[in-house]
């Protein structure tokens, strides 16, 4: 019986507490990302942004959350209620489960699995279901068009993301995310693989449906795209899912290209707390770039989006994949077997 307590029970309790800690941190980060976005956009457009509720408007996210929570949930007539309600839950759940494999520092990871990067890729490729299910179940043509657009967009950009991941993996020789970070001790991958870094960043924008690729929402033509019929908490879950996905994509960018928790030029030690602080700073930088892009560029037209994905990024990433493999073999830099 003692085997049960020490072997199963306590580790399970500790894991659940760790998961709760990560989820709470992510939820707070997400709430303040909405605030950060509104502030950054406001400053770029020479406005003030939220500044009424609390000091500098800092309580604004909680006021928004409270407002959404007190609204009425409306299920449109003719909608497929089960799938209609399942879609936002699925999207939000997927955006959270991906964090299981993200290393926040050396050894600070919930599940240090061997195929971490494939797990992330699998989870991010599932996000499309939440959107397409929402679009279909709403029984509305705007929502359906938004869902279809989003499905085509995410599937298209996943292909080039896949090739970028393979290129990074060639340089690392492991699918483990901690190994990927440790392989960047000499040089962060965004320097030798700069074109792939750009491709990954732009594909990340498309994958998270952010401006200038926010066609699934396209408020000027599709009202609000796939979540036009949603209200109250189910709407909030879509919103939360989108922002958590943004943070996740930034975390992936920092791990794959910006050295994860490693400090630049070794100016501080890499162990906890420093490593985690560097990681958070890098995520914030990439998030700022996301918002910067949103404030700067107009929305793509749909045919331009598809053209960019299939005719520019796919050949470019395929070429860089072959080139990287060739250079690694030619120079004898192939990583040793792990």
């Amino acid at each position: 019986m003692s085997d049960f307590w020490s072997g199963y029970f306590w580790p399970t309790v500790i894991t659940i507490l760790e998961i709760l800690l990560v989820v709470i941190v992510i939820a707070v980060a997400m709430a303040y990302l909405t605030y950060f976005e509104r502030k950054v956009l406001a400053l770029m457009q020479r406005r003030k942004g939220p500044n009424v509720i609390g000091p500098f408007g800092l309580w604004q996210p909680w006021a928004d959350a409270l407002k959404l929570a007190t609204k009425e949930t409306i299920i449109p007539s003719g909608a497929n209620a089960t799938i209609f309600l399942m879609a936002p839950m699925l999207l939000f759940m997927l955006s959270l489960v991906a964090w299981a494999v993200i290393p926040f520092g050396e050894g600070l990871v919930l599940a240090d699995i061997n195929v971490g990067i494939l797990y992330l890729f699998a989870i991010s490729s599932l996000g499309v279901y939440g959107i397409i299910m929402a679009g279909w179940a709403s029984n509305s043509k705007y929502a359906f068009l938004g869902g279809l657009r989003s499905a085509a967009q995410m599937v298209s950009y996943e292909v080039s993301i896949g090739f970028v991941l393979v290129t990074v993996l060639l340089c690392v020789g492991s699918l483990n995310l901690s190994q990927i970070v440790l392989a960047q001790q000499h040089v962060w991958f965004f320097i030798p693989l700069f074109p792939m870094f750009i491709v990954f960043f732009i594909s990340g924008l498309a994958e998270t449906n952010r401006a200038p690729f926010d066609l699934p929402e396209g408020e000027s033509e599709l009202v609000a795209g796939f979540f036009v019929e949603y209200s109250s908490m189910s709407f909030a879950l879509f919103y939360l899912g989108e922002y958590v996905n943004m943070i996740l994509m930034s975390a992936m960018t920092s791990i794959l290209f910006l050295g994860g928790w490693l400090p630049p030029f070794g100016i501080t030690p890499a162990h906890a707390p420093y490593g985690t602080i560097w990681f958070i700073l890098k995520i914030s930088f990439v998030l700022f770039a996301f918002l910067w892009v949103r404030a700067t560029f107009p929305r793509f037209r749909y045919d331009q989006l598809m053209r960019l994905g299939w005719k520019v990024f796919l050949p470019a990433s395929l070429f860089w994949l072959v080139l990287t493999a060739g250079v690694l073999v030619w120079a004898g830099w192939l990583p040793a077997r792990v």
Binding site: N80, I83, N114, F121, L126, Y129, L148, E158, D303
Partner: protein, 210 residues
Amino acid sequence: MIVQAICFYIFSAIAVASGVMVIAARNPVHSVLFLILAFFNAAGLFVLMGAEFLAMILVIVYVGAVAVLFLFVVMMLDIDFAQLRSGAVRYLPIGATVGIILAVELVLMFAAWVFAPEVGQALAAPMPGAHVTNTAALGDLLYTKYVYAFQAAGIILLIAMIGAIVLTLRHKPDVRRQKIGVQVSRRRTETIALVKVKAREGIGEEEGVR
């Protein structure tokens, strides 16, 4: 061990149940969603066996790509399934034959394992040690011993892809496409004509917009 056994039964029960629902659901979209659930549980079974690479690839390829296309097609098609169902009796013999053949094959395979356990061992590659991850082990085998089979599979898929493109590619003459090169390399003189407009005459037909 007991936790693994419980997980195994949960995953396989859901997989079988959702497999049944794929053919039993009235709504084709629900069928596809149940199919996805079945894929997921199969991935869970792979993880239980320690084949985490296969599990992830199953989710990425089948759930992330193939099933999305299924869902796409099924949502776009306007199929009256009640009408399709009415012909079920007519096709029952063919369906039953295929089902029986599959069942017999399964039984034969299990029988071979039970009566001659060494058959399985002769086919299987030797298990690599615990220090090799199963991604590396698969790669070792695929790119050395089975490299021709692997390449042949790749070529077959490529041909299928080319075939699909050839079948669906149509050049419509009246579709307006954006030619970015032409657009960017356009000069001012080609597009803008400055015209001095005389009072009370306006722009003549020949001088107007080309």
